[in-house]
């Protein structure tokens, strides 16, 4: 039965196809487990005012929730872009993750504050509920208050254009924004 001899080759070709597909997948990329679920409820203090806030404060979407901390070097790197986004009217809420409020306030004073509100999560319990595993992370909350996307790592123009634009179609790129400013000014 000659055909039987072709089975190993066939099995190998299937394997090779699988490996080829694997080359285009990033094994370290982990989608949010809470995708499609409403933002977990919480009662935490707001950074500047000290008043308690809950998940309602983040409504309505679409909005960004940015997980950041002063000890996180990459957060500093993405900060200017967040400021640019906020300047274009994108609602950004901050989750100050396992940080000290004094330091956080000083940081924002020094570097600028893109956040409408900042949630103080000193022990990381809200982060745990969300599925945060390292800063910086940025969550997108949809119009209905559900988590629709998560990006782990620095948020920049390229990432925004590739993954975030569908919820924020009116956001212009840096180039376009500059042209508008030059046109106006």
């Amino acid at each position: 039965m000659r055909a039987k001899r072709f089975l190993p080759l066939l099995a190998f070709l299937v394997l090779a196809a699988l490996l080829y597909k694997g080359l285009s997948i990033d094994p370290t990329e982990l989608p949010a487990a809470r995708l499609g679920q409403p933002f977990p409820d919480f009662v935490k203090a707001e950074l500047k005012s000290g008043q308690p806030i809950s998940a309602e404060a983040l409504m309505p979407g679409p909005a960004l929730v940015n997980v950041w901390a002063t000890w996180c070097y990459s957060c500093r790197v993405e900060h200017p872009y967040l400021l640019a986004l906020a300047a274009q009217g994108v609602p950004i809420y901050g989750l100050n993750y396992k940080d000290e409020s004094q330091k956080a306030l000083a940081w924002l004073d020094q570097l600028g504050d893109p956040y409408r509100l900042n949630i103080v999560d000193a022990e990381g319990s809200l982060g745990l509920d969300l599925g945060v595993y390292g800063a910086p992370e940025t969550y997108v909350i949809g119009a209905d208050g559900r988590i629709v996307h998560r990006h782990v790592g620095v948020l920049d123009e390229a990432v925004f254009a590739r993954d975030f634009r569908r919820w924020f179609p009116s956001v212009m790129t840096d180039e376009a924004a500059k042209k508008v400013r030059e046109g106006n000014g």
Partner: protein
């Protein structure tokens, strides 16, 4: 200048390898002896130039030539010289060069030791190996050139070698492992040559066997070293994690085990031909697959080199060509007519067929588990992880299953045997072992531990099988005279390897079941009892090493009031990179290891400390050592040397029967 010389040497080696891949093979089909005779010279030529390239790179490392990119990325002026040398293969580019060096070494060995073989066979074998060399040299030159320079922005000093790698383990583990990994290309080449020639007979198997055994032996030793290195280096006392890169080396080993046994059957009885050829192809294919997995970034691993999908694509194409090509050749040329030699359902052949089956299933199971996350991700079914709990649950039963067959195996007869004979020979001693097993399990802890009982039982049965065979052979001379000559290297090798397997099994189960560990805070003067031993923290201190500063804790270990040893675990901070590493202190002995490691400091005068009592953990590595040694010993069997004696006999004109 030196790196450029190395680069040129590598290019020349590539060209020679292309010649080796094409000319002798062509000559073997056109019956052109001149072309076929080129093979050994070309192989030696490749070896020569790869060695030059390797030496040039080594010189760059030893001279702190930070204009060379890999030296800057992996070395440092403060690094001890021996680690500067081994840093050469502690990275992707350099380790590839090591791969090719070892491949060319095997090619030269094949060229050298194959005087008695038909020229046509040698030509084809070396050509196939040449093709593999072409692939790897191309990969190196085109995507992973170790001689790339960082000019004009040369760094002042290097990034330093990862402290985890600054260890004797790095000096021996990769070379030994590669000897095995790469060495499996030899039986592969023999299999391809046999398929090309349409000659899948006992002589092909005989020629392949010594090469396969040596390669597999080195692979066993390489894996053992990796496990031992992880044990004392990583600080948590573990010795196998089923990490994708570990599996990448284990799968060729499993397939190699099946191959080693299957070759024996094909050589002696001429059966299992298709099985054996396939196993030879699969074993090396798994080596190549391992190379792919480790360097492409397709799977996450602590051991993986920095990944690059572009490199991954190159290896995948190479893999597809080599494996796809050989499996296509198999499909077209494998014997369709079954051999006329038959064997019964109760025979040594059928026992070895069970062995083939179990090890093939085991390899497939490990492959499935390793690739499962990839499969699920590729079909967008989610992100999964498969780790030790799964692998242990499925792999261990398979090994347990094969063990009773190992007991009967050495005793069994070819072609036709009977279960009654086995029962007569083994039943009573086997029951004796069972009693010992139960006793051992009862004595080892307060509760009867079924796993200890099982492992002693199975290991005992394997040992019984070996001893029974040993005794039978010694007494085969009759009249009470011990026939030592009956203990051929082949038999000794098999016995050592089987005993080694039993030791590994026993060690693995005992250390898993009876391991005692305690994490606690200890300050100077604190005492802790574990496993019958008394650990006292006497003092804390500091030490400046060649390229690090260490915090030390001095422990006195005593038993029944007598001081046994002083253990000094360290927490090192490496100066160049700032990385912090824990150096565990181990008191090793055959029956137990005492293991002390430092965690985080608690305040100024206390530390979080882990104490471990690990019974019989050394059996794991001693067992693996026996397996490796056993495999290497078989090569000295006289039947592999007899060819030259026959030649000499014929040449001298004598025609008497040689013994």
């Amino acid at each position: 200048m030196i790196p450029e010389l190395g680069h040129v040497a590598l290019i020349i080696a590539f060209m020679l390898a292309v010649g080796l891949a094409l000319l002798p093979l062509w000559g073997s089909f056109s019956r052109d002896t001149a072309k076929m005779n080129l093979a050994p010279s070309l192989a030696i030529g490749v070896m020569l130039f790869v060695t030059i390239a390797f030496s040039m790179l080594a010189t760059s490392f030893l001279n702190d030539d930070f204009t060379v990119a890999v030296v800057a990325a992996n070395s440092n002026s403060l690094l001890p010289p021996i680690f500067k040398f081994s840093a050469l293969w502690g990275n992707h580019e350099g380790s590839l060069l090591l791969w090719v060096l070892i491949l060319s070494g095997w090619m030269t060995a094949v060229a050298f030791f194959s005087r008695g073989l038909p020229l046509i066979m040698v030509a084809r074998v070396l050509s196939v190996m040449g093709m593999i060399a072409v692939g790897f040299l191309a990969f190196s030159l085109l995507t992973s050139n170790p001689f790339e320079r960082l000019l004009p922005n040369t760094p002042m000093d290097g990034n330093d070698l990862n402290p985890l790698l600054q260890d004797p383990g790095l000096i021996i583990h990769p070379p030994l492992l590669y000897m095995g990994y790469v060495g499996l290309s030899v039986p592969f080449a023999f299999a391809i040559a046999a398929l090309l020639g349409g000659r899948l007979d006992a002589s092909w198997a005989r020629w392949s066997r010594p090469w396969t055994n040596v390669a597999w032996g080195f692979l066993s030793l390489g894996i053992m070293l990796g496990s031992w290195w992880a044990y004392y280096e990583l600080g948590w006392g573990g010795w196998w994690f089923w990490d994708p890169v570990e599996n990448a080396s284990f799968m060729p080993w499993l397939m190699g085990t099946a191959l080693v046994h299957s070759l024996a059957v094909t050589e002696k009885r001429g059966v299992f031909r298709s099985w054996t050829v396939l196993l030879a192809i699969f074993a090396f294919s798994l080596s190549l697959l391992g190379t792919f997995l480790v360097r492409s970034g397709v799977l996450t691993s602590v051991h993986a080199f920095a990944s690059d999908p572009e490199r991954g694509l190159f290896i995948l194409i190479f893999l597809a060509l080599v494996v796809g090509g050989s499996l296509l050749l198999y499909a077209m040329r494998a014997p369709v007519v079954a051999s006329r030699v038959t064997y019964g359902p109760v025979s040594r052949e059928s026992l070895l067929m069970v062995n083939n089956l179990v090890f093939t299933v085991a390899t497939t199971v490990v492959l499935l588990g390793t690739l499962f996350p990839l499969v699920m991700d590729a079909f967008s079914l989610g992100k999964y992880s498969v780790g030790p709990p799964y692998f242990n649950a499925v792999f261990v039963p398979l090994m347990a299953l094969v063990t009773p067959f190992m007991m009967v195996g050495p005793l069994s007869r070819w072609r036709d045997d009977s279960v009654r004979r086995w029962v007569n020979e083994l039943l009573i001693p086997a029951l004796g072992v069972a009693v010992i097993a139960v006793a051992a399990a009862l004595m080892s802890s307060d509760r009867f531990n079924i796993w200890i009982a099982l492992s002693v039982l199975l290991a005992g049965w394997v040992t019984l099988g070996v001893l029974r065979d040993l005794i039978r052979r010694l007494l085969s001379g009759g009249q009470g005279k011990l026939r030592w000559r009956a203990l051929s290297p082949s038999f000794l090798g098999m016995s050592l390897a089987h005993l080694g397997f039993a030791a590994v099994m026993l060690g693995a189960v005992v250390v898993t079941q009876q391991n005692q560990e305690r994490d606690l805070r200890m300050a100077v003067g604190d005492v802790e009892e574990l496993g019958g031993y008394r650990f006292e923290l006497k003092r804390l201190g500091q030490l400046a090493g060649p390229n690090y500063i260490a915090d030390q804790a001095v422990f006195e270990v005593s038993r029944a009031g007598e001081l046994l040893t002083v253990l000094v675990p360290e927490k090192r901070r490496y100066l160049a990179s700032g990385q912090i590493m824990t150096e565990a202190a181990i008191d090793a002995s055959l029956w137990r290891d005492l293991y002390v490691a430092l965690g985080e400091p608690i305040g100024k005068d206390a530390w979080a400390v882990r104490l471990q009592y690990k019974p019989m953990v050394r059996f794991l590595w001693l067992g693996a050592l026996l397996i490796g040694l056993g495999a290497l010993v078989t090569v000295f069997d006289r039947r592999y040397r007899a060819q030259s004696r026959v030649k000499a006999t014929i040449e001298s004109g004598a025609l008497s029967v040689a013994s």
